[in-house]
C-alpha cells in the first residue's frame, strides 16, 4: 500500500481549481485558433478574437475565464493500492473552498434546490472510480450552468440506429442555439444506464478535443468527425450570430448496455470548457 495524506489531496485540488478557472485548456485554445482561420465572416471572427483575447487576459491577470466558475465537479481515479490518511471527501471539499476563495471565484452552489438561499462554494460533486495501481488521479471540472441546462438524456429503443441518435444530438445543439455560449464542445455518452450515460457524456468533455480522425481511428472517432461536420453546418456560429463554428469539438464515450435499451446523453459545454488534472 502507498500512503497518501489527505492534506496533499487538499492542496492539489486547491491548485487545480485555480488553474482550471484561469488558464484555458490548451486543446480548447488550439481549437479556437483553428476555427478563427476557417471563419470568413467579420462578425464571427470578431467574436472568436474576443474569446481568445479573454483567455489571455484571464491568464495574465489571474481572473476567472468566465464569471460562472461553475458547480465544481471532481473526478477521482483512486488506485486500489493507495491508502489515504484522513478524510478524502473533506480534503476535496476544503481544497475547492480554499481554491475558489483564493481565486476570488464566484460561489454558485446553493444548499437546497427548492428553498435556494445564498450561494456557497460547496458541496462539491465527486465522482470516484477505483482503478489498478498505487496512484491517484484528480481532475477538476468547473461546469457553468448556462450550458449544463442544455444537456439532455434520451433512452432510445435498442433497435434505433446511429441516424436517430445523430438526429437527437443535432436537435440538442439546435435547442441550445445561441443561448449557452457557442461555439460548444459536445460530450456524448452512449450505453450503460440512464445515470451512467450522463456521466459518460460529462467525462467525454475531459478528452482532448483536438485529437481528430486519423487513418487508424476507431468507429467513435469517425462518428465524432461526422457529428462535428454536421453540427458546424447548422450555421449557429459564435454567440449564435452565424458562422462556420458552432462546435469546437465532439467527443463520444461508449459503454456496454442492456439488451432492452440504448441510453444516450449529451452534455453541452460552452466555449469556456475548463478542466485541470494531476496525478498524485
Amino acid at each position: 500500500m502507498r500512503r497518501l495524506e489527505a492534506k496533499t489531496i487538499r492542496q492539489a485540488v486547491e491548485d487545480l481549481c485555480i488553474k482550471a478557472n484561469t488558464i484555458l485548456r490548451k486543446d480548447v485554445l488550439k481549437a479556437l485558433k483553428l476555427s478563427l482561420k476557417k471563419e470568413s465572416s467579420a462578425g464571427a471572427r470578431n467574436i472568436l478574437e474576443a474569446i481568445i483575447q479573454n483567455a489571455s487576459i484571464a491568464k495574465k491577470e489571474k481572473l476567472a475565464i468566465c464569471q460562472d466558475t461553475g458547480m465544481p465537479i471532481v473526478f477521482l481515479e483512486v488506485g486500489q493500492q493507495v491508502n489515504i490518511r484522513g478524510d478524502v471527501n473533506q480534503a476535496v471539499t476544503k481544497g475547492i473552498e480554499d481554491g475558489y476563495k483564493k481565486g476570488y471565484f464566484r460561489p454558485s452552489v446553493i444548499r437546497d434546490p427548492l428553498s435556494r438561499g445564498r450561494p456557497q462554494y460547496s458541496p462539491v460533486l465527486i465522482h470516484a472510480d477505483i482503478v489498478r495501481g498505487d496512484k491517484m488521479k484528480i481532475t477538476v471540472l468547473p461546469k457553468g450552468f448556462g450550458c449544463e441546462n442544455k444537456s439532455r438524456l434520451c433512452m432510445f429503443k435498442p433497435t434505433a440506429g446511429f441516424l436517430e441518435i445523430k438526429r437527437f444530438i443535432l436537435e440538442t445543439v439546435k435547442d441550445a442555439g445561441p443561448d449557452a455560449c457557442p461555439p460548444y464542445v459536445v460530450g456524448v455518452g452512449i450505453g450503460g444506464s440512464a445515470e451512467y450515460a450522463s456521466l459518460l457524456a460529462k467525462k467525454a468533455l475531459l478528452k482532448d478535443i483536438t485529437c481528430g480522425k486519423t487513418k487508424n481511428s476507431g468507429r467513435n472517432a469517425k462518428l465524432e468527425d461526422e457529428l462535428l461536420k454536421e453540427i458546424n453546418s447548422l450555421g449557429i456560429g459564435p454567440m449564435g450570430l452565424g458562422g462556420k463554428t458552432t462546435a469546437l469539438g465532439v467527443k463520444i464515450l461508449t459503454y456496454p448496455t442492456h439488451i432492452a435499451g440504448l441510453p444516450v446523453a449529451v452534455n453541452i459545454s460552452c466555449h469556456a470548457l475548463r478542466s485541470a488534472g494531476t496525478i498524485l
Partner: protein
C-alpha cells in the same frame, strides 16, 4: 461605431437597429434570477423598488468576487431567457435596456417593441475582457443574495450588439 452614454434617452435607443455594434458608457445595474423575482414581486405588491427603473439599464450578470486591487471580478452575461417571465412587467415600469446573451421569448420581443426598449447582447463567455470595461462597482441592493445581488456598475466603452430593437426586430431571426 455608435457610442451611447447614460442616462439613455428614448431617442438614443429608437435609432438603434438589430445587429448594430454599440459602445456604452455610464451607469448600469446587474440583476439576475433572484433579483428579478424580487423586483417582479415588489412591483406586483406595489412596494418601493431599490431604484426607479425608468430609462435604466439592467445587465444580466452575477460577477465573480472582486480580487484585491481590482474594480470587479470577471463579469460576463448570463442566459437572458431565464429572465423572460419577469421582463415584460419591468419594461412596463420604464426599463429602457437590457444586456445579456441568447434568445428572448416572443412576449419579451413584443414588449420590447411596445415599450420602445432595447435588448443588447454582449460578448458571451468573455468575462475577464468585460471586467476591464468596468470602472466602478459596488453592491447596490439585495446584498443578502451574494453574487445575485444588484450591483451598480460604471462602465466605459462596454461592447454591445443590438439584439432586439425598438421596432421589435430580432437579430436571431436573420441568422
Amino acid at each position: 461605431m455608435k457610442r451611447l452614454v447614460t442616462p439613455l434617452k428614448k431617442r438614443d435607443v429608437s435609432s438603434l437597429k438589430a445587429g448594430e455594434a454599440v459602445l456604452l458608457s455610464g451607469t448600469i445595474y446587474t440583476a439576475r434570477d433572484q433579483a428579478h423575482k424580487r423586483l417582479f414581486e415588489a412591483i406586483l405588491k406595489k412596494q418601493r423598488l431599490p431604484f426607479n427603473l425608468r430609462n435604466e439599464i439592467i445587465y444580466y450578470c452575477g460577477p465573480a468576487k472582486t480580487p484585491r486591487g481590482k474594480v470587479i471580478g470577471s463579469c460576463g452575461p448570463t442566459t437572458s431567457s431565464r429572465m423572460d417571465k419577469f421582463t415584460p412587467l419591468l419594461l412596463k415600469k420604464g426599463l429602457l435596456a437590457m444586456i445579456g446573451k441568447g434568445r428572448r421569448s416572443q412576449e419579451v420581443i413584443k414588449a420590447t417593441g411596445k415599450h420602445k426598449a432595447v435588448y443588447f447582447l454582449t460578448y458571451a463567455g468573455c468575462a475577464a475582457l468585460l471586467a476591464k470595461q468596468v470602472k466602478k462597482a459596488g453592491v447596490f441592493a439585495f446584498a443578502d443574495l451574494g453574487p445575485e445581488a444588484i450591483y451598480k456598475l460604471e462602465v466605459k466603452d462596454f461592447p454591445l450588439i443590438v439584439g432586439i430593437d425598438t421596432k421589435g426586430r430580432n437579430i436571431y431571426q436573420a441568422v
